[in-house]
Symmetry: C2
């Protein structure tokens, strides 16, 4: 006989709800994974600590069972209480945090890395992680002062990419720059007033070398002292009347420019 958890006050439900707070995630080193896409990627690439489900016939429940995941059947009310989203589609789990130390993320010979400096918008940060994955980047680094990549909105915006490439959280910017240099990556800072136009870099083969892209917040960009420490300050050309691009859109243009240059060797 299967026991179905029906009380939203159950200690296990309360324990998951606490993880919607960053401090609890940091203390317990685990986070909430909502919906089939994230649950599937977690099971494929990292594993879940536990999985709450409403439908015992969901094929992902069988996958979780094979992996020895702690399984708890719940009713729709409890599932809703566990989730941050309105439609977790029958599945909410918890998983070990995904972030890795800086040195581990930049191990080997990385070709393409993204650094987000003090970016606190979870949607933008998550979308950049997804785009970095799509562009074949080796790692994404979030400096200290940035959003926690395990924030629910950020996790959803990554659309599963949080499990596809190493992500570093809370790294001091100075340390990041030092390690990037030691690793032999050229550091390109995006800046609306940058001396180099992205199109000129593409023309000159300036994007063929292993590259780390530095991006700041949409409102304030990168601080001047960080731009100065970069090898180049690069502006994405603005052909119309727009003053700037959205952060994730700028990242997409820069990362795909690098990916193409590195693959064609020009």
């Amino acid at each position: 006989m299967t026991t179905v958890l029906t009380s939203t006050r159950h200690p296990r439900v309360q324990a998951v709800r606490r993880l919607h707070r960053r401090s609890a995630r940091a203390a317990e080193r685990r986070f909430v994974v909502e919906g089939p896409q994230a649950v599937r990627e977690a099971l494929r690439y990292g594993g879940l600590t536990e999985l709450f489900f409403t439908d015992p016939d969901d094929p992902l429940v069988a996958v979780a069972r094979e992996q020895g995941t702690d399984l708890v059947q719940v009713d729709a009310k409890v599932l809703e209480a566990l989730a941050e989203t309105v439609t977790p589609q029958g599945l909410v789990g918890t998983a070990p945090l995904r972030d890795v130390p800086l040195e581990a993320a930049l191990h080997g010979a990385p070709q393409l890395v993204v650094v987000l400096h003090e970016v606190n918008d979870p949607g933008n940060a998550g979308t950049v992680i997804r785009t970095a994955d799509a562009a074949g980047a080796d790692a994404v680094v979030l400096t200290a002062g940035s959003v926690d990549p395990h924030n629910g909105k950020c996790v959803r915006a990554t659309a599963g990419s949080l499990w596809h490439l190493p992500v570093v959280a809370g790294a001091p910017a100075d340390e990041v720059l030092a390690v990037l240099r030691r690793t032999g990556l050229q550091v390109l800072a995006t800046s609306g007033g940058g001396a180099d136009d992205l199109d000129d870099l593409l023309d000159d083969g300036g994007l063929v070398a292993p590259t780390a892209w530095l991006l700041g917040t949409e409102a304030h960009g990168l601080p001047e002292e960080l731009v100065r420490q970069a090898d180049r300050a690069v502006r994405v050309p603005l052909h119309g009347a727009a003053e700037s691009l959205n952060l994730a859109s700028a990242a997409a243009v820069c990362l795909y420019a690098s990916a193409r240059s590195q693959r064609t060797g020009r």
Copy 2:
């Protein structure tokens, strides 16, 4: 002596609040413009119908006065009641709707056009309008079933670009395709399973010709019958493990690829 409007129940306040609904915007052909950036772009490119402000010394109030805008000083409570955002920063106005007929938007010899098919996410739609502006596109077309570009969240995501290029709303997809063809634009449909890789098109000069990019929703993409009617079905290369790109990121990659090809002639 200046009269300051202090009642949130005042008919003028209620009239603005109604405009947060699409039906009221359609009936009155005007929409709400919140915050300094949008107010500034509206004053620069299209004009406001009226402007509510808290600080009479705000320089944008002087600009509006010179243009003969109907000005109403309000207290902070009323401003908050007028706005959808938590921080309208002292300025809320109304302006005539921005959308234009399809034929007007594609008048002349457009080089680069974006068509969003049944895209109902206002953040994504607004970000695409902003990116299209940045990439120098000539127009953005939203087909019937898409979000109203005057939706508050969409307007904010455009970051002022709603005033920078012609936007078409609610155009039937068949009509859009017919007009694009008549205008001599090649029609490229983005599709995860598209036969042509964006990088191959870039190699072959396939993006030099005047181009309309067709993009569908993130969840469902474009319907098969629309993809079939396009000249090519194009996939953005996915180098990592991501299944797809965010809609606005895909648009950024495609539009900047076109902008570069058209500008270099290769």
